[in-house]
């Protein structure tokens, strides 16, 4: 087997295209129906909102909601076919590698969904504002799909989406709710571990008998309640920066790749 054949046995753009085409043909009707329903509701709400106080950033909350709910729920169902009695054997024995199957589902539910949502919101807001201005002579701000804030929100979605992609292959049934639950439990566990580390590493810096565990104050972002002396305040600020950096690296650089790798191995282990 030469090198090209060896690579072709792991990844082939042709087979990836076939898998994407298959997903598109099987799914486009459902997507169109969902878009029509959401678009109709948005147009209606936009019209009704003109009776109150028009103007301002009307569409962003809907965009965030669509990404957070629509995106994560649909991501949770991308591997449903791998778990079902009839479609499971068909999908798993379809000639494509695990990598191609994972990448095809990942592309559709991550970049594909985020890009489609940005374009959809831009289109709906344009249509809605045309109607608003024609009817009321005024309207809301147009949704700008290339605004930095909106692209940043899409990037956050791409990271969170990887957790739900893993949930989709991990859980056979009710994947979305189970992933939310698992994410909450893991999130709480991480926070507790972080607090313990924080207490162990930085506790001695506090002058009045160490840190208290008043959660309301812990998360207020205001360290004054800990009665720091001036000298240690700089150390604590530096510590918080280090924690912040670790958190950002974990979120932006490690979380998604970890979920993708875990999803790959889980797909590898899937039996029907």
């Amino acid at each position: 087997m030469d090198e090209r054949n060896g690579f072709e046995a792991v990844f082939s753009p042709r087979r990836l295209f076939l898998l994407l085409k298959r997903d598109f043909v099987h799914g486009y009707r459902g997507v169109l129906v969902a878009m029509a329903a959401v678009g109709g509701v948005l147009l209606l709400i936009s019209l009704l909102s003109m009776l109150g106080r028009p103007g301002g950033d009307f569409y962003t909350p809907f965009y965030v909601g669509l990404l957070a709910l629509g995106g994560l729920i649909s991501t949770s169902s991308v591997f449903r076919e791998a778990h079902q009695a009839a479609s499971g054997p068909f999908y798993l024995t379809l000639p494509g590698t695990l990598l191609e199957k994972l990448v095809s589902k990942l592309l559709v539910s991550s970049i594909g969904f985020a890009a489609a949502t940005l374009l959809f919101m831009a289109g709906i807001s344009a249509l809605s504002e045309l109607i608003n201005r024609a009817v009321f002579g005024a309207g809301h701000l147009w949704f700008n799909p290339v605004a930095v804030e909106n692209l940043h929100r899409a990037a956050i979605y791409l990271v969170f989406q990887s957790i739900y992609l893993l949930g989709s292959i991990w859980f056979r049934k009710v994947a979305f709710l189970k992933t939310v639950l698992a994410q909450s439990i893991i999130g709480m566990a991480v926070v507790i571990v972080m607090m313990v580390i924080f207490r162990l590493v930085l506790g001695s810096l506090f002058t009045r008998g160490g840190m208290n565990l008043d959660l309301g104050r812990m998360f207020s972002g205001n360290f004054s309640q800990f009665s720091l002396n001036g000298q240690n305040s700089a150390v604590l600020t530096h510590g918080a920066q280090v924690f912040g950096t670790i958190f950002r690296v974990c979120f932006w650089a490690l979380l998604a790749p970890f979920c993708w790798v875990a999803a790959y191995f889980r797909l590898r282990e899937t039996e029907v």
Binding site: A9, S12, R15, L18, K21, R22, V25, H26, A85, A86, S87, G88, P89, F90, L92, T93, L94, P95, G96, T97, L98, E100, R268, E269, E271, V272
Partner: protein, 289 residues
């Protein structure tokens, strides 16, 4: 082409296969027979990598089935009893799935569709179970795959379609291809499947070509109930009793698959003696629980 060695598999604590060995050679249409729950469907799933062996190995065309490598998947196609047929037109289905199989023959597909009297312009979801089955079989036969796994292929087919399927399968048999048919409907597969493999209590208790069967077993129709140790199997039928004995002469008599299956199930030990241990797997201990 398919090599199963020392396979152990079970669901939970219940062992289904215990150190099972099986070798399937190219150029044959194997019939896999067994009682309900014998593990026929599970064995097919293990062969195409949908289930993983607990111990032992399954190699298909030299590939480890458990890894589901792509060059195994494009050479193996399975028509399960529970079908997945998406709501598409046949031509759309073909445009989506045929390119996955490098040797897919559109001419062969058209021939199969015509012979099985399937309409090309009807949505697949609107077809009856039997028609969906025929469509899946037509696709599988046209796929060009070297390994075809068919689970109860005649279930749901009408009487003419069963004959058409037999003809298509006979034509699809090639020197470089192995077809494994798991079925309870042995009469539907009469004169087609050969060799015959019988699976019982997690082991292969019989694996013989029909030529060997007719050479070593003798079937007679007798007016009264046959008696004696030489009787391997006897069953009342219209006009008397069908009896199966060891063939001690040179004359060969035909045996239908149902009678053969019942004989094997009734007397696995004696059959093993008659056919020798070379092809029939010796019974091994099965541990349940």
């Amino acid at each position: 082409m398919i090599e199963i060695k020392d396979l152990t598999f079970g669901y939970g604590r219940q062992k289904l296969f215990d150190h099972l060995d099986l070798s399937l050679e190219r150029g044959n249409i194997y019939g896999l027979l067994g009682k309900n729950g014998a593990g026929k469907t599970t064995l097919l799933k293990l062969i195409c990598g949908l289930r993983y062996a607990q111990t032992g190995s399954i190699r298909v065309l030299g590939h480890d089935a458990a890894f589901r490598p792509v060059h195994m998947l494009d050479e193996i196609i399975s028509v399960p009893e529970e079908l997945f047929i998406p709501p598409l037109l046949p031509r759309v289905y073909l445009s989506l799935y045929a390119p996955f199989y490098p040797r897919f023959s559109h001419d062969e597909f058209r021939t199969c569709m015509t012979e099985l009297e399937l309409e090309q312009d009807k949505k697949l979801s609107s077809l009856s179970y039997g028609q969906k089955k025929k469509f899946a079989l037509a696709f599988a036969l046209a796929s060009g795959c070297r390994v075809l796994l068919l689970d109860e292929p005649t279930n749901g087919l009408d009487i003419p379609s069963k004959g058409q399927l037999r003809r298509l399968l006979a034509r699809a048999s090639r020197d470089d291809r192995v077809i494994l048919v798991s079925t309870h409907q042995v009469r539907d597969m009469e004169n087609l499947i050969d060799p015959i493999i019988v699976l019982d209590q997690g082991r292969i208790i019989f694996n013989q070509p029909m030529a060997e069967v007719t050479k070593r077993l003798s079937v007679r129709l007798e007016p009264t109930e046959p008696q004696g140790d030489s009787i391997l199997y006897a069953d009342r039928t219209i006009g008397g009793w069908v009896s199966v004995r060891r063939n001690t002469g040179t004359e060969e008599t035909g045996i239908d698959l149902e009678t053969l299956f019942n004989t094997v199930i009734a007397n696995p030990g004696k059959l093993s003696e008659i056919f020798g241990a070379s092809r029939t797997t010796e019974p091994t201990e099965v541990h349940n629980g």
